[in-house]
């Protein structure tokens, strides 16, 4: 029997994140990487020819005239719609998965990366719950001296929208880590949920970014290179 191999650091991170959110009642679900224009954009209140689409550099799939347009999902947010359509409210889920952006790669940008989407919908979920949830998550993931703060932002599928910063004590500074907000009533309606009765929050965090901050990794391109030296660049201890 040979000695055991190693999980990829992204797997290790997603498990840890799923565990933390699991303790707050969130279940893990997954969705397709090849998405329709409807789920990736339209249902999320990002209409065609709207300047807000410029927020996502998109890989489009070659399709025939008659076919529905398809994309490589630019975010895990389409699962908000898919999940609410099939399971309704109330619900709490996290959705880890690979996403794609058609942009030049450098130390902090990769065309392929992992996102973890969070969604909580109920009759009385508030922005304060979003803050409480993310604060607890960051304390458990980064350490007990982590704090979060919100800044105004804009995403077509949340209203209000916020940018989330985390106080990272090792570097003594605030780092921008994710976008979030209260689910836009149109998004709930598009997914067949009664927006008069239900409200909720959603967030989308970049998994690589969290891992890079936590372990001091300088370059995002190390993650999906297939190089096993990356797996062995950390001391590993079973919890």
């Amino acid at each position: 029997m040979s000695s055991p191999g190693r999980l990829h650091p992204i797997t290790v991170a997603i498990r840890e994140m799923a565990d933390i959110f699991g303790r707050m009642g969130f279940g893990v679900v997954q969705g397709p990487e090849l998405e329709t224009e409807h789920y990736n954009f339209d249902a999320l209140n990002i209409p065609e020819d709207h300047s807000s689409r410029d927020m996502w550099d998109t890989f489009w799939i070659k399709t025939r005239e008659s076919e529905e347009k398809k994309v490589l999902r630019t975010h895990t947010s389409p699962m908000q719609i898919r999940w609410l359509e099939s399971h309704g409210a109330p619900t709490r889920i996290v959705v880890p998965g690979k996403c794609f952006r058609n942009e030049a790669t450098d130390m902090t940008h990769e065309a392929q990366f992992y996102q973890l989407e969070g969604l909580a919908v109920d009759t009385d979920v508030t922005l304060a719950h979003l803050k409480g949830t993310l604060e607890r998550f960051c304390k458990e993931y980064f350490g007990s001296d982590a704090k979060v703060r919100f800044r105004p932002s804009y995403f077509p599928f949340t209203e209000p929208s916020v940018e989330v910063d985390v106080w990272f004590s090792a570097q003594q500074k605030w780092l921008e880590v994710m976008g979030a907000g209260m689910v836009h009533p149109k998004v709930l309606e598009n997914a067949g949920v009664d927006a008069e009765k239900y409200q909720g929050f959603a967030f989308g965090l970049g998994v690589e970014r969290f891992v890079m901050i936590k372990y001091g990794i300088p370059d995002i391109r190390l993650f999906h290179s297939g190089d096993i030296r990356f797996n062995y660049a950390f001391d590993e201890k079973k919890v």
């Binding site: 990829h8 058609n102 392929q112 297939g226 096993i228």
Partner: protein, 604 residues
Amino acid sequence: MKISQKWLQNYFDTLLPSAEKLDDVLTFHAFEIEEASGDMLDVKVLPNRAADCLSHRGIAKELSAILDIPLKNDPLRSDVGTYDVPTSLKVEIEDPKKCLRYMGGVVKGVKVGPSPAWLKEALEAVEQRSINNIVDATNYVMLDIGQPLHAFDAGKLEMKEGKYAILVRGAKEDEKITTLSNEEFNLNSGALLITDAHSGGAIGIAGVKGGKSAEVTADTTDLIVESANFEGTSIRRTAQALRLSTDASQRFQNRPSPELAAYGMRDVLTLITDIAGGEVIGVVDEYPASPERSREVSVTLEKINSVLGSDFSNIEVEDALKRLALPYMVVNDTFTVTPPFERTDLTIPEDLVEEVGRIVGYDRIPATELPPIFSTPDQTRYRGIERMRDQMVEQGYTEVSTQSFAKKGDIALANPLDKAKPALRTSLEQNLQEALAQAKYYAPLVLAPNEKPKLFEVGTVFPKEGEHIELRMTERVVAWGDKADVVDNLSVAKLEDYGKEYEPKRYELGTYKPFSVYPFITRDIALWIPEETEAREPERIIRENAGELLVRLDQFDRFEKEGKVSLAFRLVFESMERTLTDDEVNGVMEKISAALRAAGYEVR
């Protein structure tokens, strides 16, 4: 949007705070600052506010609300003025859905020349180039209140029966235009043009860029000044098709209110006559969209607090609305706001919730934990997949993650980033083989000498039947018997029972230790040691003498013979800074051998 603090100060009697303070309050109540240098702040205006905040006035308005200091004068709240209708200009709009308003001002007798110093300085402060007083006036007013403007040299248009005629029409197939920057563009039939109706020639790409044929030059004396509103989608498509993103197109594609055009016309005519002289003959106003009726948006105090989870009072909400200068009425805790025309973003109650939240401040929102929930979604497939991963690791396999793009596949990208990989992978096999070849090379760095790398990946693949999650390994798991395959479809595999109760294994990782981009060198050394020697001792001597270039040391062999023990070690050398030479490593090995001999061991 580049903002000059000096320019902003024109809006206030009160002295504005320092750049750091402005940066801070804008960041926490409105927009991020991308860059600040000297007098200039580069404000990252959010897409939903691009209709009113791509302007100094818009940013001043935000600061007025955040800092609670009044605007000296709000150009959008003061009288818009009236003009005669000139007999010398006719304007016609072919498609009122694409051109919501077109105002054409006729000015005679201007003197084109350099701009006054204050204007040059203002434009240079936001990194705009001064051209001449007329062009500068149009740019200044656009940057000031957000309305794109353009001035044509009337003398370059045909006049018939004492009239100039402007026609806003769609381009003909393959119609050409040369812009002010001397670039020729071939237009598609979708593009909107400003044309001279008499000559039929194009004088500008509507909402994008002016044409060369009616350029204002030193000889110009008469102007037709355009302040219009073009539909956002049409402008966006044209700007994208021509790859020509301009200050004007960026503003129009965010759909500012057509009402703004009148304010733009008023301000630019005032400025032109101030700095270039001339006489305003009149203004034509074709406004097929007609003024929008003002929309009301209502929200209750209870709604605000129930969305934000806050405990704001009526007084705080009123204070926020007052500071934003949003006209409102309040009846029984219900706030009914009539947004001013430029605030096109305020349409639903949640928009008002956001306005109140950000002005009062998100630091006032408490961090509240969610109450317990009694049912969580079924996670057996996730857990089943994780259990498969744990099994692979237990069998000695290392997990890799590779790229989803491939040279060939059933699904092709319309716009690949890497032209050599224009398709989506149909299998993990190719990537895994490449990763294995690489892993074999790097194995001495990360694995013991008697181990060979075995890899697996769990990833989405895209064959023509549709995507699924594939598990693939570089070789069969021996313990699973002869029939075990190297590949499995985890999207259809029966994982329900397998995953049900499974808790995926958790690992704690240490700080990342960078690896070198330079090649490594391996050396083996074998030695005889007396049977009674502490096994750690030779290892200690090797480490002590190898120096910092030694990155891995494994003992890979041991046998006993005639009261002596033979040990074999593999040493791996690597530098973070450079490629090592054989000579250099040989030198280190000699030093180690000498030290081992000195300790009384026999190096073989």
